[in-house]
Amino acid sequence: MGKGVALSTAEPMGATRWLLRGHSALVYAFFYAPIIVLVFYSFNESHLVGRWSGFSLRWYEAFVQNDNIQSSLWVSVKICAASTVISVVLGTLAALSIERFRWWGQKAFDAVLYLPIIIPDVTMAVMMLVFFGETAQLFNVIPGVDLTNGLEKLVLSHVAFNISFVSVVVRARLANLDEAMEEAAADLYASRWQAFRRVTLPQIMPGVLGGALLAVTLSLDDVVVSSFVSAVGATPVSVYVFGMLRKGVSPLINAVSVVILAASMTLVMASLVLERATSSRKR
């Protein structure tokens, strides 16, 4: 709120005020109603999606017993872990390099770094499909690399979009930091590495963790790119569920959805709590 003017200036009076409140309440209802309905119906006993016939956990049991879903979940966990670790390292280095140094060609790098964030999923998916189609053989020459196995292609393409998101989050953190701390460390004869490890790294850690959580979320979220590069036998859960959804609704999908939703919401909460904790410490 700008310059200490009372909130009352901004608050409309009379009917408009209540319209504004009512509208906002409705938008929040719009945000959450579908999610609540989905959770509610996942406990439905009936196998008709729209008809409530009693509380039951049978669809969660079916979920646990479904080997295809279980194995696709495992694929997702692997892709998530690998792509997050790689993109956090590369993204953090990129953020440091842009925020803390000046070098020739930096502007161009900065621009390219933004592209994966704004590029539509479909275009990215087409890019990856065409690229691996043309170059898989070349990569397979490298010992230990086998791109016919979908898992590696999935990790490689997830890293391609995650690096950018990680670096944006870390850069936001770096921009708010005082470089004087690092300079003070250098004045006290710390080597650059020591200054980085003891001063910079602990300070940017919340940004790095935030970036990691974002990478995990995006990796779990991705459907389009993954369905273009995944091979038989390495289907991540999002692609598997998407395939099920296109065939139609079933209470089993509701249960799977609620589990995925719970996982992604836990991640969001974790990152929000993290952000809160670190920003309040700063004040």
Partner: protein, 291 residues
């Protein structure tokens, strides 16, 4: 006593630092070059390549056929339908988000943070699942349909129509609109509004002459962030839409999966990319920073 700075030494130190910066950025740079820039180059090449009879794409016999096909009636219809849906989605999102963003930014800080978290949670929750939730809601004997027919508001069966797609897109991308709008409105210096009111401006004209112009960067940023992904949307029409091949995203996917026309799929992807780049240029011209 003056400190004598040796220009040569200073210069050398600067160059060493610049080299260090370059080295730190290098791994990501190489990675993005190999797994982003080169793939992009391949798509551009494909769009000028030849399609063989069997549906393979041959990187030879460069031609503009795939771009000429963009003028065909079928393709144009797909593009315009997508533009139309993206435009409606953007306008609806703006209409829903503006009052909300205004409401949030005029709360006390504690309330404001809570309300923002309320927007952030769906923003980062699984997109696919959130879209699917509408499938459950709009199902022919789902809650929405029953409420609509119960209230006598006509036939509520809108699943598998463009209306359902628009609802899904608005639902999916609304946070993209709320957050930049909030950022813009929150920054407004309310003493300007107070000044306008002191000069006998009505509440409405103070809004129209002061608040709205000042919040415009947020309006533009939010509109682009909603319009661009809506234009190329694939998941939402696939789950909620009727004609599965009638929109840009699905049409592109179809070129690679069923129609086996790599060049056309690629020229369409380039088109989507151009729309995105134009949007981004406007965004940065308006002083937009990161997301």
């Amino acid at each position: 006593m003056d400190v004598v700075v040796e220009p040569g030494l200073e210069h050398q130190a600067e160059r060493a630092r610049s080299r260090q910066g370059l080295l730190m950025g290098l791994p990501a740079m190489i990675y993005l070059f190999v797994f982003f820039v080169i793939p992009l180059g391949f798509v551009v090449m494909y769009s000028f390549a030849t399609r063989t009879r069997t549906g393979r794409t041959e990187l030879a016999g460069w031609n503009l056929e795939a771009y000429e096909r963009l003028g065909e009636t079928v393709v144009r219809a797909v593009a315009f339908r997508s533009l139309w849906i993206a435009a409606v989605t953007t306008i609806l999102s703006l209409a829903l988000a503006y009052p909300l963003a205004y409401f949030i930014s005029t709360r006390r800080p504690a309330t404001r943070n809570m309300l923002l978290v309320g927007v952030m949670i769906p923003f980062w929750s699984n997109f696919l699942i959130r879209t699917y939730a509408w499938r459950v809601l709009l199902d022919s004997d789902g809650i929405f349909t029953r409420i609509m027919s119960g209230a006598g508001l006509g036939d509520g069966r809108i699943l598998f129509t463009n209306k359902a797609v628009i609802i899904g897109l608005v639902y999916g991308y609304l946070p993209f609109m709320v957050l930049p709008l909030y950022a813009a409105i929150e920054r407004i210096d309310w003493s300007l509004v107070e000044g306008a009111r002191d000069l006998y401006a009505s509440g409405w004209s103070a809004f129209r002459r002061v608040v709205w112009p000042l919040s415009k960067p947020g309006v533009i940023a939010g509109s682009i962030l909603v319009f661009v992904p809506s234009f190329g949307a694939y998941v939402t029409p696939a789950i909620l839409g009727g004609n599965k091949k009638g929109l840009m995203g699905s049409y592109i996917v179809d070129q690679f999966m069923d129609a086996r026309n790599g060049p056309l799929g690629s020229s369409l992807s380039v088109l989507v990319l151009v729309v995105m780049l134009m949007g981004t240029l406007v965004y940065f011209r308006q002083g937009g920073r990161s997301l």
